[in-house]
């Protein structure tokens, strides 16, 4: 069955109002599932307060470290420009410098971005190549980020997200899989890219990459293998 591209609202069969009513019902069910406080036997430990202090201090220190890192990045950039050592001869590229920090957790990876946001409306993505049988089902493009869903007759999806990189923005690669995730550094059109292979059979693999020229980060989620996902990525045209 072929489907032409539909709006997000048409693909999702429930409205936000229905979702809200359903969420209310789940909240009621959550409350019913809880015991009475009197039934819970626990004396909070003497170390509770000291742990609270340690957690608050640790959070403050982490924020300070991030501020320092951003400060260092700004200073480093200023030194590069000031010293004339900037590698690109394109004057516009100096203002478009972006970089990122990757933090790895048990079942997710967080990319935090730095640098100046590109001026202009987020471009649409045209997919020059897709495996046979996939058609676009949803396209949802905003000012800062966009999402596209492709589906196949086999019921397998390709989910594509993209958005501008700039200081304060981030992107989290999430999995709800409890399988082992194997990481590999790859390239997409010569740009840095990360591939995450889920060792399970029915969990999506993820390809994350950037396009330095446009200042956009992308991630692709599908059951396809690395080569196919890189091929999709390398055939995306920004319009």
């Amino acid at each position: 069955m072929n489907r032409s591209s539909e709006s997000y609202e048409n693909f999702i069969s429930f409205s936000d109002e229905q979702l809200q009513q359903a969420a209310y019902a789940v909240r009621e069910a959550l409350i019913i599932s809880l015991p009475e406080p009197d039934e819970i036997e626990h004396e909070f430990s003497a170390s509770f307060s000291s742990k609270i202090t340690a957690l608050i201090k640790r959070e403050k220190n982490q924020r300070n470290i991030m501020h320092i890192m951003r400060g260092v990045a700004a200073i480093f950039l200023a030194v590069l420009i000031g010293s004339g050592l900037w590698l690109s001869f394109d004057a516009e590229a100096r203002a478009d410098f972006v970089w990122w920090v990757r933090s790895v957790y048990e079942n997710s990876v967080l990319y935090e971005y730095f640098g100046n946001r590109k001026v202009g409306v987020l471009p649409k993505c045209e997919f020059g190549w897709l495996p046979d049988g996939y058609v676009k089902a949803i396209e949802n493009i905003g000012e800062e980020s966009g999402a596209v869903l492709f589906t196949s007759n086999d019921g397998e999806d390709i989910v594509f997200f993209y958005g501008y990189m700039y200081v304060g923005s981030d992107s989290e690669i999430l999995t709800v899989s409890d399988n082992k995730i194997i990481y590999e550094s790859v390239k997409v059109n010569g740009n840095s890219a990360d591939f995450y292979l889920d060792s399970g059979e029915n969990e999506a693999n993820i390809l994350w990459w950037i396009d330095e020229e446009s200042g956009i980060a992308f991630d692709l989620n599908s059951l396809l293998g690395k080569e196919a996902m890189i091929k999709i990525a390398e055939n995306i045209i920004l319009k």
Partner: protein
């Protein structure tokens, strides 16, 4: 308690926070404990949850009501799962159970409500906080420690997971 009080500006908020703390700390501990399986980690989760709650005190109008009760528990669940995620060593069984979050009795509509209840905890949390409590994606980002775009992506994925569930059971809304 003193640590929390230093973070709060007004006397009115101090009183409100104290009441929330006394009313819900055990329930929050109970939920966190059910996920983390040990007291020390559960207390850590409760503490982190209260730090988040302090940041959104102005949104809590009534303390002794089902909505606030559920809110406190949802935030505690979020933080418990965050702790579980950051732990280095974990058995597969433990994480599978935790991925599902705190077990909720199904609402029993055989449709969208049941589907939300069955979502992985990360998706269920954002759906409840967004649609039952009306938090914006920006506010959720601050509460959950993510960017607004990551929250939007989470919500997007949650809706797709719901749609997939409904399709599998042949349910149309």
């Amino acid at each position: 308690m003193l640590i929390y009080m230093q973070m709060i500006a007004s006397d009115e908020d101090k009183s409100k926070f104290e009441q929330i703390y006394l009313t819900y700390r055990k329930l929050m501990f109970f939920v966190a404990r059910s996920i983390l399986k040990n007291d020390a980690d559960a207390e850590d989760a409760v503490h982190t949850a209260f730090v988040s709650i302090i940041a959104h005190l102005e949104k809590i109008s009534e303390i002794n009501c089902p909505e606030t009760k559920a809110f406190a528990v949802i935030v505690a669940e979020c933080k418990a799962l965050d702790i579980l995620r950051s732990k280095k060593y974990m058995s597969d069984t433990e994480f599978s159970e935790a991925t599902a979050g705190f077990e909720i009795e199904l609402p029993g509509d055989g449709g969208l409500s049941d589907a939300i209840s069955k979502l992985p905890a990360r998706y269920r949390e954002v759906i409840l906080l967004r649609y039952a409590y009306g938090y914006s994606t920006k506010e959720l980002g601050k509460m959950l420690g993510h960017s607004q775009e990551t929250v939007q992506k989470l919500i997007w994925r949650a809706k797709m997971a719901l749609q997939k569930q409904l399709k599998e059971i042949g349910e149309t809304i």
